[in-house]
């Protein structure tokens, strides 16, 4: 194998194995920071040895063994520091006897370890930014540089964020355990929020390198799928995965060759990824079968599913979508959801019905800087033939968005208001 091929295969093994490695080591060392250092040390050893000795037959087991040796070395060093010289011999003997337990510890159920690691990375003692960075780092195997590029912040800032997060966890003595049943719902909510944040950061592109975007979506989707395996009885886990799968199915249809966004209803549905849609619909069905009222992720997935099931935009069941948004609005009390409900109402019952709801949202503080409010209002006014008002709204929306492509798109719509023949008015 060429040097390059070995390096690529080390990177690949690291992406797939690092989370498992860190999770198992955290359980043994009880400190996620130390666990990550040990795993990194094992990676460095692999980078030194594999190019010369070749990639081992079972790279995952090799990395685990290397990390384990590091852990034992470290334990020995600690023992040496802590004990008087004459005691060292006896201590080492005891340690050797203790090692079989250590081995057994590392081979325990990997699934639970990953889940524990995910819960720790998304722990409420950490800020949201820290949760996202730590999750991508520990479970996604992303480098600080990759995380920095994805979120358009400096590498030093990300490194600092991760160091602080690990220190906070260590100081707060956060146990490497699954949360107690009383906290499970809330803690799981925090995990799902982080996963969806990562997905949206990749999907919505508010900032960052273009090429890092799909990687974030894929990583979130992967984490979500792993989570469904780890917590199969939680409907919202399936709901979130359903939502992400269906949204991801539109990736290739949502931008033109020059990068201009294409609205959902104008997308070429033949370019939607049917495999992802099917997975999404299956995950949604799973969430529904687990019973209870649908949570916010499952409801959003159910809405996305209405679009996914329609072979043509004209077949969309807008009445059902409006009803689902109604349920979602009651659950979340979010004006953004109300804005979406207005769009659905307009599609189901005509633009006037939508505009009526949009106009009640004008004073919402939360929507003050939200460019989709004037954008939606402009669209409804346009459909009602009130072109001058529509143009003003599109121009306002264009001035509010940070995304250059979206800005061009909105200015294009504003310009179209002037071009449209006056007989529509």
């Amino acid at each position: 194998m060429s040097h390059d091929a070995v390096r690529r295969s080390i990177e690949a093994v690291w992406r797939i194995e690092s989370a498992k490695l860190i999770a198992a080591l955290t359980r043994v060392t009880r400190d996620v920071g130390i666990a990550e250092e040990l795993a990194q040390d094992a990676l460095v050893t692999a980078l030194e040895q594999w190019p010369q000795q070749g990639v081992p037959d079972n790279p995952a087991a090799w990395l685990m063994a290397a990390a384990k040796h590091r852990a034992i070395d470290r334990l020995r060093r600690l023992q040496m520091q802590a004990r008087k010289h004459e005691e060292i011999g006896r201590e080492l003997e005891e340690l050797e006897r203790a090692m079989p337990d250590f081995d057994a510890g590392l081979d325990d159920d990997i699934g639970d370890d990953l889940l524990r690691l995910l819960f720790i990375s998304c722990h409420p003692v950490l800020s949201t930014e820290a949760r996202v960075a730590l999750t991508l780092r520990l479970l996604g195997g992303l480098t600080t540089d990759e995380i920095a590029r994805a979120f358009l912040v400096s590498e030093a800032a990300v490194a600092q964020r991760i160091v602080r997060a690990k220190r906070t966890l260590s100081e707060a003595r956060v146990p490497f355990d699954l949360p107690p049943a009383t906290e499970l719902g809330e803690r799981l909510g925090s995990v799902l929020e982080v996963v969806y944040l990562v997905f949206n950061e990749g999907y919505a592109a508010t900032a960052g390198d273009d090429w890092m975007r799909p990687a974030l979506c894929e990583e979130a989707l992967r984490l979500g799928r792993v989570l469904t395996g780890l917590a199969p009885r939680e409907p919202e886990v399936h709901g979130l995965v359903a939502l992400m799968e269906i949204q991801a199915s539109r990736t290739h249809a949502r931008t033109a060759a020059d990068g201009t966004p294409i609205l959902l209803l104008e997308q070429n549905r033949a370019r939607w990824d049917q495999l992802l849609i099917r997975r999404g619909l299956a995950a949604l069905q799973h969430a529904e079968q687990l019973g209870g009222t649908l949570g916010p992720y499952a409801l959003q997935a159910a809405i996305a599913a209405c679009h996914a099931r329609a072979a043509h935009a004209g077949d969309t069941d807008w009445e059902r979508i409006a009803a689902l948004y109604d349920a979602l609005a009651q659950l979340t009390q979010s004006p953004v959801v109300e804005l979406n409900r207005a769009v659905a109402l307009a599609m189901a019952y005509g633009p006037a019905a939508g505009l009526e709801l949009v106009d009640t949202l004008q004073s919402e503080a939360q929507l003050k800087n939200y460019h989709l409010l004037p954008s939606v209002r402009g669209d409804l006014l346009f459909k009602l033939g009130r072109l001058d008002e529509a143009r003003t709204e599109f121009e306002r929306a264009a001035a509010m968005t940070r995304n250059a492509r979206e800005q061009r798109f909105l200015l294009g719509r504003a310009a179209a208001c002037s071009e449209t023949p006056s007989r529509l008015q």
Binding site: A12, I16, D273, Q274, Q285
Partner: protein, 130 residues
């Protein structure tokens, strides 16, 4: 992200000649490996195939479609399962597919996995309410 079709092969005669205890010993080792494969979050679908004697092959012969019982290629090792994974590149596909039981077990019954990069993949039918 690329997709890879992973083909699971086995020696059908040897596999069918296994006695119940041997078979049990082999398949009982599979679930943990399957769990590891799923835990990568990169597995898109898995399928297990009926015996190759149930295959039917279609071939154009003299301008007509000839229907022949049996697999396309006569071989001891036949296709027994397939799964689709997504991976950044072939190196990652190898790291993922290595977790499949057929990449680790069943040496005496000819288990093997072949990884084929998928160039183009699209399901044609609209998904019905799954």
């Amino acid at each position: 992200m690329n997709r890879y079709l992973c083909l699971g092969y086995y020696d059908e005669a040897k596999f069918e000649a296994m006695d119940k205890a041997e078979l049990q010993a082999l398949v009982s080792q599979c679930p943990p490996l399957d769990a590891e494969l799923r835990a990568t979050g990169r597995l898109q679908m898995v399928a297990s195939l009926a015996a190759s004697r149930d295959s039917v092959s279609l071939r154009p012969r003299g301008g007509r479609t000839q229907v022949i019982d049996g697999p396309y290629a006569e071989a001891k090792e036949v296709l027994g399962s397939f799964f689709i994974i997504e991976a950044a590149d072939i190196a990652e596909a190898i790291a993922i597919a290595s977790k499949h039981p057929a990449a680790q077990l069943g040496e005496t019954v000819g288990w093997a996995v072949e990884i084929r990069p998928i160039e183009y993949c699209r399901a044609l039918e609209q998904a019905a309410a799954a």
